[in-house]
């Protein structure tokens, strides 16, 4: 119990004094996971909508694959991304292993199926007749899709939160492809693992608390937007 109090004290101290290293780690976490979420949004929402709105043989199989991907284990993603990015691997010419870019890539791979799966469910959940109605009112196909996406905003924002929450808290892939390099690819989760193995439990707890506060703040902002749209 003392240890937890000590950790909370340490967290406040690190935050109040704006400890440069902790600030850097926090900012990098936000930057990497934010960018990865952004990428997963672009790919996930567009592809998810496309799958939801089109009819093709094997659609159920594709949907099942996407839904399975929502539970992709981060360490497995980390392992494969590492092997692909190795100098002597298929994508070795990029030279991005052990960089923040590689971490964004791995996290985007983790978050994309989450966003895509939720988009798929959200768009399919809209009433079938809505599409016909929008088209009957003279909208172009693109306008129709845009209106549908706007209609599904609530669950889509939930998708954003799920995707972001999934990657900011993820450690397996980040430590494998990023390498936990000081001042370069060390993020909140990987730093927590390292401080734990160094026996600096107070700092580890402090980093954990900062991570929770960060995740809460982001979700609070997104929830504000989401709940404003609550149907009355």
């Amino acid at each position: 119990m003392d240890l937890i109090l000590e950790g909370i004290k340490k967290a406040f101290w690190l935050l109040i004094t704006l400890d440069p290293e902790v600030m850097e780690i926090t900012f990098l976490s936000l930057q990497i996971s934010g960018t990865a979420t952004l990428i997963s949004l672009l790919i996930g929402v567009s592809t998810g909508t496309l799958i939801a709105l089109s009819m093709f043989p094997g659609k159920k199989i594709v949907a099942s694959l996407v839904n399975t991907g929502m539970g992709l284990p981060p360490v497995v993603v980390g392992l494969f991304v590492t092997i692909f990015l190795w100098r002597n691997g298929p994508l070795g010419f990029l030279g991005i292993l052990y960089t923040p870019t590689a971490m964004i890539l791995a996290q985007a791979v983790i978050a994309t199926p989450i966003v895509m799966g939720i988009t798929l469910a959200a768009i399919q959940h809209l009433p079938q007749k809505l599409r016909l109605q929008i088209l009957a009112l003279g909208a172009t196909r693109f306008q129709m899709v845009w209106i549908l996406v706007k209609e599904a905003k609530l669950p889509l924002l939930a998708g954003v939160m799920a995707g972001f929450g999934g990657v900011i808290s993820e450690v397996g892939a980040s430590i494998m492809v990023g390498g936990n390099i000081k001042g370069y690819s060390r993020v909140l989760t990987t730093a927590t693992v390292m401080e734990t193995s160094r026996g600096n439990f107070d700092i580890a707890i402090a980093l954990g608390i900062i991570l929770l506060v960060l995740a809460f703040s982001i979700n609070f902002i997104i929830t504000q937007i989401q709940q404003r749209e609550r149907p009355r």
Binding site: Q31, R87, Y98, S197, F201, I225, R228
Partner: protein, 282 residues
């Protein structure tokens, strides 16, 4: 509220892509694969900045066990290795994957265990005797089990005892780094083999005592090995050589000699550059 939340979100996402990560030219990067003990003890936090300042190289330290470090070297995925698993090291040098293997420093392993010392091994001179006694007493032993240098050393000690510990329920493998394994041992009141550096660095957290020390077999020697660019052309051999030269330089050896003295009252590592392996521990 609505307006502010939009603005907040907009600011957050719009700054993200515009930020550029520190990019360093490819040839100025080197990948150092090393053991957890050099990172967990904090030694690298002292050495790497000094090296970077001196040479301008950006070092990507990947702290894994010695086994994985050498596997990375063997695949050409690291440029330089700082490891402590002599038999495996000799093997990768003999196979031509590693070159210029040079001695850097040593410390020693200790057998740590709970204060109560149920198996009564405290003060035993020979590590193999102590291990035998642990096996006889069925005392809980925590093994790293991760092919690290420490794990390799532990296995070689078991070999001298003729006991196959993996048959016993009292023998458990954590699969974790040294620091975490020590924590598990402390928590479960078990025995473990640890390097003195990590033990001292973490000592404040747990009630494990040093029970056996000083046997010649417990010597823990670190070498630096450059990955052979003839095998893997993408290896940054100039950077690897610069780092290897740096760790055996007089200045760095002095840093190693004093590292940890202020914090732990005794050094964690003893510099050995230029010495022969056989001369140590006499």
């Amino acid at each position: 509220m609505k307006k502010w939340s939009y603005i907040g979100l907009f600011c957050l996402f719009s700054i993200l892509p515009s930020l550029s990560f520190p990019v360093s030219a490819q040839q100025k990067n080197i990948i150092l694969a090393t053991t957890t003990s050099t990172q967990d003890s904090g030694l690298l936090d002292v050495l790497i900045p000094s090296f970077a300042k001196k040479t301008g190289y950006f070092v990507k330290t990947i702290a894994v066990g010695s086994g994985q470090s050498m596997a990375m070297g063997q695949r050409g995925e690291a440029d330089v290795l700082l490891v402590h698993s002599p038999d495996a090291e000799k093997k990768i040098v003999a196979e031509g994957y590693g070159i210029n293997r040079r001695i850097v420093m040593h410390n020693d392993y200790i057998i740590a265990g709970p204060k109560e010392d149920r198996a009564k091994i405290k003060g035993i001179k020979l590590a193999s005797e102590a291990f035998k006694k642990l096996a006889l007493a069925n005392a809980l032993f925590l093994s790293r089990g991760d092919n690290s240098g420490t794990h390799a050393k532990e296995k070689s000690i078991w070999k001298t005892t003729g006991v196959n510990p993996e048959e016993g329920k009292w023998y458990q493998q954590t699969g974790l780094g040294m620091g975490q394994t020590l924590n598990v041992a402390a928590e479960k009141k078990g025995y473990t083999l640890a390097d003195r550096g990590t033990y001292l660095a973490l000592k404040k957290n747990f009630g494990l005592d040093i029970l056996v020390e000083g046997d010649a077999i417990l010597l823990n020697i670190y070498h630096v090995i450059e990955v052979n660019p003839a095998k893997w052309p993408k290896v940054n051999s100039a950077g690897a050589k610069a780092f290897a030269d740096f760790v055996v330089s007089k200045e760095t050896q002095d840093l190693i000699k004093t590292f940890g003295v202020d914090k732990f009252g005794s050094p964690l590592f003893f510099p050995d550059a230029g010495k022969k392996e056989e001369e140590l521990g006499r």
